[in-house]
């Protein structure tokens, strides 16, 4: 199994996190995303015509999109169905909803970070405003969950929905977005960083509290 990876990519980090949580073996292939733009090279476009990372290769199968890869890995390698509770239709619906939501966090918070950290030419004001409205939805959801005594996005334990939403929420400050208006989000981030096996990536503070 091979992961086309970039150290500073939150989407690739999602996959590395699940690989660690499931304790599976995975070869990491470093893609020179910046400044090399290797993900737009002819060779890489042959692997992913969208020119994006992450991409996973396993047994001749090629999968792109972080959320799809999370689903694949959890279905194949999580014998306990912890990270993808496939036996419960309700939870399947909820987890999928938040997996799809994670791409909105990428489209906004990650875009703001690309602008601030890698100098991408994009409308950073729109990206930040978009991130704020996305985080508001997550904050309201996590607040309701806490009223019911729950700590995670869906179900009684962390799932791939938490993994998918974590990186670009935790990295928001790299895109000039202050998380202080969202206390429930900050509590959830802290819980996530205290999961057994958690490790950090550049820009994510990991102080055990």
């Amino acid at each position: 199994m091979k992961l086309y990876d970039y150290v500073l990519s939150g989407n690739c980090y999602k996959i590395r996190l699940l690989v660690r949580f499931l304790e599976i073996e995975c070869e990491i292939v470093a893609v020179d995303f910046y400044p090399g733009r290797e993900h737009k090279s002819a060779a890489f476009l042959g692997i992913n015509p969208l020119g994006q990372i992450p991409v996973l290769e396993d047994d001749g199968l090629v999968i792109r999109d972080a959320q799809a890869i999370l689903l694949y890995l959890a279905n194949k390698y999580d014998g306990h169905g912890r990270w993808w509770p496939s036996g419960d239709p309700r939870l399947v619906g909820e987890v999928t909803m938040w997996l799809v939501f994670a791409d909105r966090i990428t489209a906004t918070s990650s875009a703001a970070r690309m602008h601030d950290v890698l100098g991408y030419d994009l409308d950073v004001g729109a990206a930040r405003a978009g991130a704020r409205s996305v985080f508001r939805v997550l904050e309201d959801h996590l607040t309701d969950r806490e009223f019911g005594g729950h700590e995670w996005i869906a179900g009684p334990a962390p799932t791939i929905a938490d993994i998918a939403c974590f990186p670009y929420t935790a990295l928001a400050h790299d895109g000039g977005i202050d998380l202080s208006p969202w206390p429930a989000i900050r509590r959830w981030l802290r819980r996530f960083t205290n999961l057994p096996g958690f490790f950090t990536m550049p820009g994510i503070d990991h102080i055990r509290r």
Partner: protein
């Protein structure tokens, strides 16, 4: 916006949001604050700036009753005095290295801060309050206040027979951004306290506590009810400026708030 001078007690967070061993950031106009709680459970409100190189202390970490800056590890005791400079373990940290302090109080489930003078009487709201939630509203505090003062917010609540009653919100107590709503016939809660933090000219944080009625097992329901109401308050305040009419929204979608047709504005 109004001069956010912290010259009167200002809500800066819910007590429950700053658990022992954690630090977080709060903004009040130009004041950038770090709020942290040591293992001794004492909350502190300081200037959010490390005297060494200016790093935000809210990125730091709490060990025991000390706060350590995440940049070079300068460590401060509960009074803001520097006790350790890791790069110079041989050196006793100079007495002059001390972080600016704000007066702070914890009351009604809310953390309050004020600049300087300790003489000010701390806020007091009798009874047993529990923190509900903090909610960001993208409007300045005076706008949020004027909505409360207008009596435009209606809080619905079930009585012991399950009948839904509606109560218009009381005006601000004394123009300090604190609004208390007393409910005499609700079976979920006795009162709701909404304290506004003027974050900036475009944002307010409302820190909200409730005095629940009845068994602890019911508190979750009361908190959720108030939280749903707060989301509607947020929508109403933000949409008004944008010219979106809330009145046309089907009542089922807005169960708590009704706009009075005679309210000012």
């Amino acid at each position: 916006m109004e001069e956010a001078s912290l010259s009167s007690w200002t809500a800066v967070g819910l007590s429950a949001a700053v658990s022992p061993g954690t630090a977080c950031r709060a903004l009040v106009g130009d004041h950038d604050l770090v709020i942290w709680r040591g293992r001794d459970r004492q909350v502190r409100v300081w200037e959010n700036r490390c005297p060494h190189r200016g790093m935000r202390l809210s990125y730091g970490f709490v060990r025991g009753d000390r706060l350590t800056c995440c940049y070079h590890g300068w460590t401060y005791d509960g009074e803001g005095a520097c006790t350790l400079i890791p790069a110079r373990p041989d050196l006793a940290p100079p007495k002059a290295v001390r972080i600016g302090q704000y007066a702070r109080a914890e009351h009604a489930g809310i953390i309050w801060a004020a600049s300087g003078s300790i003489g000010m009487e701390a806020p007091s709201f009798p009874g047993d309050w529990i923190g509900c939630r903090s909610i960001a509203i993208d409007r300045p505090r005076e706008e949020v206040d004027s909505h409360f003062a207008s009596g435009r917010f209606i809080l619905s609540h079930p009585d012991q027979h399950g009948e839904i009653n509606r109560i218009a919100c009381a005006p601000s107590l004394n123009g300090d951004g604190v609004h208390r709503i007393e409910l005499h016939d609700s079976h979920l809660f006795e009162a709701v306290l909404c304290a506004g933090q003027p974050v900036s000219g475009t944002q307010t944080m409302l820190h909200v506590s409730v005095r629940p009625r009845g068994a602890a097992g019911k508190h979750g329901e009361a908190l959720r009810h108030v939280s749903d109401w707060l989301k509607e308050v947020r929508t109403l305040v933000e949409n008004r400026r944008a010219g979106i009419r809330t009145l046309g929204v089907p009542r089922a979608r807005l169960p708590h708030i009704l706009e009075r047709d005679h309210g000012p504005g």
